[in-house]
Subunit: 135 residues, 2 copies
Amino acid sequence: MRMTSQREIILKELQDSHQHLSADELYERVKKIMPRISLATVYRNLETLSEAGIIGKLEISGRQKRFDFDIHPHDHIYCLQCHRVDNIDFDRNLVNPAEVASDKGYQITGYRVEFKGICSACRRNQKKREDGDKK
Amino acid sequence: MRMTSQREIILKELQDSHQHLSADELYERVKKIMPRISLATVYRNLETLSEAGIIGKLEISGRQKRFDFDIHPHDHIYCLQCHRVDNIDFDRNLVNPAEVASDKGYQITGYRVEFKGICSACRRNQKKREDGDKK
DNA sequence: TTACAATTGATAATTATTATTAGAAGGGGT
DNA sequence: ACCCCTTCTAATAATAATTATCAATTGTAA
C-alpha cells in the first residue's frame, strides 16, 4: 500500500477529529484541504486503511458506517437522535466468546457491544424545545 | 392499527418461519400467498408491526435489516459469509447499563451484544471446497 | 350511506456504497 | 532521464436497500 497524499490527509483528518466520522463527513473535511478529491477516493481509502488495520470500521445499527482512529478493541454508544457515536468503558472480560461458541456451531471471530440512547446535547435541545413550548 | 389481511399474512409468515428474515425474503414468501402484494407494503408493515412492539427489528452490522418474531430481549450472532442470523444464549445480567450510563451523559435506552463468525453450514462448504481443490 | 382516515400497490426518489474506466503518478531497473 | 509496471485517482455509472409519493381502495363509524 502506497501512502499517497490523499491517503495521508484522510488518515490525518480522521485522527485529528478524534471523532467517529462517516465517509461523507470526512469527505467534507478533506475537501477543504484537497478540493479536487472524489468521494469515491475517500470511500476507497477508508476501506483500504481499515483492511490494513490502520483504522477501524464501525458498523453501527442500520446506519452509515463510521471510521475510528482508535483500533484497540472497545465498544460504542450512539445517539438515536443525532447519530453521533462515542466510546464506552465496557469491560470486555465480562464476555466469554468461547462460552457462546458451542451454541450453534459457529466459529466466532469477534463480538461487539452496542449501547444506544440520547446524548447529552440532544437532551439539552429537547428540554429547551419543551420549555419553549410552555410559553 | 388495523389488522389488515396483508398485515396478518406478513406476521404469520414471519412467525411460522422461525427465522430472522429480511424484508425481501419475507416478500418472496408472502407473494406465494398474496401474489399482488407490493414490496413497499411489506416494508411498511414490518415497520408498523415493529413500532407496535409485535415483532422485533434487527439492525445488524451494516447489512439488510432483519425481523424477529421473538420480542423478548436477547442477542444474536450472524454469519459473515451467508449473513444468516441466529439467537445466542448470552446472560444479559452480565451487562449493567447503569454503570455505563454516567460515562458520557447519555440516557441509555438499550444495548445489544452482537457476535459474528462463520456458521456451521458455511464451514462445511468451505471444507468441501478445500478438499475439492486438493484433488 | 356518506364521509373520513388508514391502507394499499405501483412507482419514483433517496441514501449509502461499490464498480468501472480511462488517465495520472510513483518507483524501480536500465 | 526513459520506459515499464503497478497502484492510484477522479468522475461517473451502477447497485442495493429503503423510504416517499400519490391516486385508488377499503374499513369504520357517525
